[in-house]
């Protein structure tokens, strides 16, 4: 019952969750290229999270090149961020989603073929 | 420290609070005097009344209020990050100054009441005049009388202030023993006074003498000068000084115990 905001949980480190939250907004185009992201002050007050933690999360995106700092003005989404983030997510798609799905299928005795069928049948 | 003293004299819970209490008490005593006046005016027998309510009851109220204000200030100081040392010194300064101010206020009330009584053809006495015979009305509100009386009142106030801070100080360390110990001290003072026993008893005796023969000090032009009574010189300055200094000394002794107690007292509040 920690951060009272959708998408946040109690077990993962908060800075990672913040990075993911911002990244989601970038990947889905909700935050566009050269658009300013919410400031550390705003984010920390709204989410009630220590600003140092917020900064740490934002820095992850800076390191990935998704976000850049304009001196005296704030943090902005990089020009190719949406594509870059999407590529990154695509790479992680296998580890984050495919693997767990196959592990669960194995646990339940669902064969690979059955899984493939389900995937094909999905609209 | 300057900040704390500033609060004691300008803040709401310091002098202002004390003055509000004292004002109410003195006002009440004034009403009491008027009531007595009305009752006695019917009786033509009296032309002077020996009432020491302002000096007597007034001092008791003053002491109680000073104790209450000191305890409140102690709590505020603990909250506000004031060192014990600053609080203790502040209490000492407040004690001397509040007592002086209260004594002055009591003299003012006395004068006003005396004037009111005179309108009805009567006179109100004060501590100093209690030993004097028929010349009261001439000297009742003479400057020397007022000053002498102020000194005596100051002594009384300092005495009760002493008991008060002693109680507050002891309470900060020993919740339950405080009233018992303070009570014992008061009884000791009473006993010393009654029996004139011990050095304290001698002090009281010396002050009593000054009081009894105050007419020679206050109005020598009327009563003549007693070169010396019982081997004690009775000058006006001497009398005033004796009461003021004795008052400060007695307060100082009990204040010292208060200081020692509070210096190491844990002020953690309740619950």
């Amino acid at each position: 019952m920690g951060v009272n905001y959708p998408g946040f949980n109690d077990t993962e480190p908060l800075f990672i969750q913040i990075a993911r939250w911002l990244e989601n907004k970038i990947v889905t185009g909700q935050l566009k290229a050269d658009e300013q992201i919410p400031s550390t002050t705003e984010l920390s007050a709204a989410l009630k999270i220590n600003p140092a933690t917020v900064r740490k999360g934002v820095n992850i995106l800076v390191e990935k090149g998704l976000v850049y700092k304009k001196r005296g003005m704030g943090m902005y989404v990089a020009a190719n961020a949406e594509d870059s983030a999407r590529d990154d997510r695509r790479e992680r798609f296998r580890d984050d989603y495919v693997r767990p799905m196959l592990e669960e299928a194995a646990r339940l005795g669902i064969s690979r073929d059955e899984v493939a069928e389900m995937v094909k049948g999905e609209r | 420290m300057r900040g704390y003293l500033g609060y004691v004299f300008r803040g709401r819970e310091g002098l202002r609070s004390y003055a509000a209490f004292m004002g109410a008490a003195l006002g009440g005593l004034f009403v009491l005097h008027l009531f007595i006046l009305i009752v006695l005016v019917k009786d033509d027998y009296f032309d002077h009344i020996d009432l020491m309510f302002y000096e007597g009851l007034g001092s008791l109220f003053a002491g109680a209020f000073f104790g209450i204000v000191t305890e409140r200030l102690m709590k505020l100081s603990a909250f506000g990050g004031v060192s014990r040392r600053s609080f203790i010194i502040g209490t000492g300064v407040a004690g001397l100054l509040f007592a002086a101010l209260t004594s002055a206020a009591i003299q003012v009330m006395y004068i006003i009441t005396e004037l009111v009584y005179r309108l009805f053809g009567m006179g109100l006495d004060c501590m100093v005049m209690s030993g004097i015979g028929t010349h009261r009305s001439e000297v009742a509100i003479a400057p020397r009388t007022i000053i002498f009386n102020a000194a005596v009142t100051f002594f009384g106030i300092m005495l009760i202030y002493g008991f008060s801070v002693l109680f507050v100080g002891l309470r900060s360390r020993l919740r339950r023993a405080a009233p018992v110990i303070t009570g014992a001290v008061v009884v000791f003072f009473g006993y010393s006074y009654d029996m004139y026993a011990g050095p304290l008893g001698e002090l009281f005796g010396m002050l009593e003498d000054r009081l009894m023969f105050s007419e020679y000090a206050v109005a020598p032009e009327i009563f003549g000068t007693a070169a010396s009574v019982n081997g004690i010189s009775m000058t006006f300055g001497d009398g005033v000084l004796a009461f003021v200094v004795s008052g400060v000394l007695i307060f100082a002794v009990m204040y010292a115990v208060f200081a020692l107690a509070v210096m190491r007292a844990p002020l953690r509040g309740r619950g």
């Binding site: 109690d10 007050a45 009630k48 600003p51 | 803040g11 506000g80 844990p266 953690r268 509040g269 619950g271």
Partner: protein, 286 residues
Amino acid sequence: MSMMEIRSLTKRYGSKTALDDVSLKIAKGSIYGLLGRNGAGKTTLVSLISNRDFPTSGEVLLDGANVKENDRALKNICCMGAEQLLPGYMRVKDVISSMRYFYKNTDAEYANALCEKFGLDPKKRLSRLSTGYRTIAKVIFAMSSGADYIILDEPTLGLDANHRELLYKLIIERFNETEAAFVISTHLIDECAGLFERVFVLREGRLIADEDSDALRRSAYLVEGKTAEVDSFIAGKKVLTRSEVGSFCSACVSGGDVPSPDALPDGLEVSQPTLQQLLIAMTEEG
């Protein structure tokens, strides 16, 4: 950077040791969590910082100067706690207007704004307030004091959920504005975990943790599965707690790297504890 240093602080009451050789540092510009069970010594620590009580040994230093009986240092420290310190007959607005004599940088306007935000009537006497509102009043006093070091001991006592959320928001906002050091002691750990940059954990008077809050959480993990398998996995490791449910068992293990799911034997699940779960494990009896 202004710094408060607590050095080998010990407090004994007769035969009971409330604080045992506690040393830690509190720097301006950080928010700290002070955690521990009831009676662990948190409130005692706060009373020693605020000069309301004196240490048996050790010292509290502010920028090198001992805080004990030091008016100048104490002007920069404002503590609030569960105890009734202020006279109950005083009105909230009276306390606010008195504060400038004690804390030079008191912001009375801010205090009044906070009263409004919380719905606290400044004309009310302290003794007339409910538990929650009395806590709110004390928090408002501390936060508007303008002190560099603000210690809040149980600022959530009696507050409903809405007020708690409001409080956390206000703390962050005030912190962003003033960069004061905030030390918050609370039992609602998961709610507040996001606020803390660093966390101090007291257990029976001793400091058992002084760490970055993320690092602390990552220092332990939960293992769950069939009892026999869990037990063989945790053998030789530092186990904080272990509990059984039928033929299953879960344990909280501290130290070492968190094993990745691949490295785990089949049938065992590993997960991260919340800060509260970890704290319970660290401060369990025995």
